[in-house]
């Protein structure tokens, strides 16, 4: 799976959580731009985890601030699998 495909699938999962329909780019911040609170983060992370069958621990989440960083992190985890 290439990065673009990972991006597409994450974008699809993000859709229902992007309540204000913000345009999402690699530098979009989950906390600042999308205004995710801790409960939303948990539900969104669970959706991503289920989509890709991975675990994103809170330790890893702490390193992820933007959309692009999430795509990179998930993409790297998928590559590890392959």
């Amino acid at each position: 799976m290439d990065r673009a495909e990972t991006d597409r699938r994450i974008r699809e999962q993000l859709e229902p959580f992007n309540k204000k329909g913000i345009a999402v780019a690699d530098d979009t911040s989950f906390a600042r731009d999308l205004e995710f609170d801790s409960l939303t983060v948990m539900d969104f992370v669970a959706a991503i985890e289920d989509e890709f069958d991975i675990i994103i621990s809170m330790n890893q989440q702490a390193e992820i601030e933007t959309y692009g960083q999430l795509v990179d992190a998930v993409h790297a985890m998928r590559k590890d699998d392959a």
Partner: protein
């Protein structure tokens, strides 16, 4: 900022923090607090109990007040036998140990307290900490190390989260009480990694219990060790008062139980009990156990006396349950929205529409002569504002009816019911 200048409905003006002031990060919270207080609200977080008359009565702001938010579930704080044990230890062993458990801070009384706990839980090992907070901090951060995984409920108590933060394990939360969500995460943990599942018997915010029978079975199926915090169940849930794990019949599959003396036991202190054959090594490697002074002799003496009385507390237990069910049913009938459909524990959480109404209701109850706990975001699940009521075995039937009358009047005054 001068008193009386500001209107209640104006956002309070906080002076901008000077550059480099590390307190700048608290400005939002300071503003919220001042806003509430300026609106004529008494500060729910700095109430002083001027006199304490019994486990269920105190004088607050000069008013005699019924206490309905103390977690003093079994009313042991004024038990004459417990007080006598404390006085004796104070006289015989002095006011404090001035030392760590592993140096000069283990007295006869600490050993006896651990004996009482082992007997109470029917477990091989017991370790007494200075608080329950430290017990969670110490056990969690010590047993789950780098490369291990902690799988825990998102609504876990602050001391559990802080235990995770103090350690080096990977932390993976799952949706509150969601068995499937927990299992999915367990399945995805890399082969060979150590796993610790952390659950609570009773969740203190809403007073709901965990489906421990199912959850513990799932955890064991995936080879995880299980830690259950039973802070809010000791003494009155389960046949011997050992907690929700006992009630669910899974005591043998729980590796560690964490508890506190600050609720049913009626003093201060925390503990972990376990059947793990190597458990005693914890005393040497658990930093929040080693690097702090042990509990005073009088405290461990009152704890031992109280724990031993709790073993024979069937009648009190029954009355506590009666109180909880009556309060829950009565509040529901009055039209309040509650945290659980039926009484699952001795905590009844009343859900408030928002923080302002919640604070107003809290104050109206205080004026009626009733103290409850106000819980607000971010400590609460789903950012709810809650009035948390905890029943005591010493509340009389009449007191519970009085409490319901107070809730009815205050609820109507504030416009919640």
């Amino acid at each position: 900022m001068s008193e009386g200048v500001m209107q209640a409905d104006q956002p309070p003006v906080i002076e901008a923090a000077p550059a480099g002031d590390l307190f700048a990060k608290f400005d939002g919270l300071i503003a919220m607090r001042e806003g509430l207080l300026k609106a004529g609200q008494e500060d729910p977080f700095s109430l002083v109990m001027e006199q304490v008359l019994s486990p269920t009565r105190a004088i607050c702001n000069g008013r005699e007040t019924i206490l309905l938010g103390t977690y003093n579930y079994m009313g042991m704080t004024f038990d004459p036998d417990v007080i006598a044990a404390g006085k004796q230890a104070l006289a015989d062993f002095g006011t404090g140990t001035t030392g760590s458990r592993v140096l000069n801070g283990t007295y006869q009384g600490h050993r006896e307290c651990e004996d009482a706990l082992r007997e109470f839980y029917g477990m091989d090992h017991a370790m007494v900490f200075s608080t329950g907070y430290q017990a969670n901090l110490g056990i969690i951060s010590t047993i789950a190390g780098k490369g291990d995984y902690i799988i825990l409920d998102i609504d876990s108590h602050a001391s559990i989260w802080d235990g995770c933060a103090l350690g080096n394990a990977e932390v993976v939360p799952f949706r509150h009480n969601d068995i499937d969500a927990m299992e999915k995460r367990l399945k995805r943990i890399p082969e060979g990694a150590g796993k610790l599942v952390i659950l609570e018997g009773v969740y203190s915010m809403l007073g709901d219990i965990a489906p421990l029978k199912e959850m513990v079975a799932v955890a064991k199926k995936h080879g995880a060790m299980v830690l259950v915090d039973e802070a809010h169940s000791m003494g009155f849930i389960g046949e011997n008062g050992r907690g929700v794990a006992e009630d669910a019949g899974v005591m043998d599959d729980v590796d560690f139980i964490i508890g506190t003396f600050s609720k049913s036991v009626g003093t201060v202190g925390g503990f972990c009990v376990s059947n793990h054959p190597k458990f005693e090594i914890m005393r040497l490697v658990c930093r929040p156990y080693v690097f702090t002074a042990s509990l005073p002799p009088s405290v461990v003496a009152t704890a031992s006396a109280s724990i031993r009385k709790l073993m024979a507390g069937a009648e009190k237990r029954a009355h506590l349950w009666k109180n909880s069910r009556r309060l829950h049913g009565g509040l529901k009938a009055l039209g309040f929205e509650l945290g659980t459909g039926e009484a699952q524990s001795a905590i009844v959480a009343v859900i408030m529409p928002d923080l302002e109404k919640g604070a107003a209701m809290w104050q109206a109850l205080l004026h009626e002569g009733l103290y409850v706990n106000l819980a607000r975001p971010p400590a609460t699940p789903a950012n709810m504002t809650l009035l948390r009521c905890s029943l005591c075995a010493e509340h009389s039937d009449e007191e519970v009816e009085t409490i319901l009358g107070m809730f009815e009047r205050a609820g109507k005054t504030v416009g919640i019911i």
